[in-house]
Symmetry: C2
Amino acid sequence: MSLRVEFHYDFGSPNAYLSHRVLPAIAERTGVEIHYIPVLLGGIFKATNNRSPMEQFADVLNKQEYQAKETLRFLMRHGITELVRNPHFPVNTITLMRGAVYAQGKDWEADYIDTMFKAMWEQGLNMADLEQVARVLADAGLPVTEIIDATGHPEVKQRLIDNTADSVARGNFGSPSFFVNEELYFGKDKLRDLEEEIVARLG
Amino acid sequence: MSLRVEFHYDFGSPNAYLSHRVLPAIAERTGVEIHYIPVLLGGIFKATNNRSPMEQFADVLNKQEYQAKETLRFLMRHGITELVRNPHFPVNTITLMRGAVYAQGKDWEADYIDTMFKAMWEQGLNMADLEQVARVLADAGLPVTEIIDATGHPEVKQRLIDNTADSVARGNFGSPSFFVNEELYFGKDKLRDLEEEIVARLG
């Protein structure tokens, strides 16, 4: 049976960024390709009646401090030093995610994904601002006009809607989420279990 | 610097039971004693404005199914076959937890803890019923009258209140929770990180 590993992501999630920083090493160690599937986290939340942990636990004593400590542990474990708090959070990422849909299969797909994650979580830019997006794309040498035009195409918009609905139909309720075939792993804390599952299936 | 590892638990939590099943192997591998600290989960929730995941995510599509899958993965990983759904859940555990406070330091402390976890999560008994508790204690050869009398002592009651308040003051917001000195690890999913932290500190 063939093995397909997917990462369902939205650039708006810092935990998706942190997962993105660790996935290349997992791909390298296991030799498995990890397919990046753009989804709209807001759409998933709406479809599942879920909320971000920040909203969910806003009024819970100690919980935010603990989550911050867990983030710090993750950064230290993986030697990540670039994460910044994005002052514009939460950022409406719909245009970025439509761009990600359009990027799929292009030879600059990986560049696009990495550039957007960095703009959000290393530079802390306001990526809901289309002029800012255009500047970031240009600086990265990506095809600015082609991408921004594509984010207005009905088929691109529909594909993002479909990706999001498919993800929920397969059991997802948030991001970052990972699938090993139809087995869901949720959250950056499950990256180790994800890797072990891949290794077990490769047998 | 000395190393102190604590498990803050309430018999009412199935995830505390599952942690209890795995902790002996961690103690054995690391050579570290793990101190069991009885706390009242309801008291922690009240003090921190937190709720059980079951309540929190009751209306979230896919989330309960995913949690069930994660429980199954945990059972398989650790070879645990005895977990049952307790039909009386959620059970008021205040008497059991007072008994656990009284048990601290007694030579039958470990027996008491194991007996209560099994009654809750292997036998699925209604442990809010004092007659049921007495039967379970008697079957285990534990001092029934001494324990049940002690659950009415003001100093036992106060110690459970203090344990719970201290736990929250140190950053806790639920159960199962673990402390390595003042470093909090929350949830059965963090048992691996807990063990690594113990090993790192033992150097």
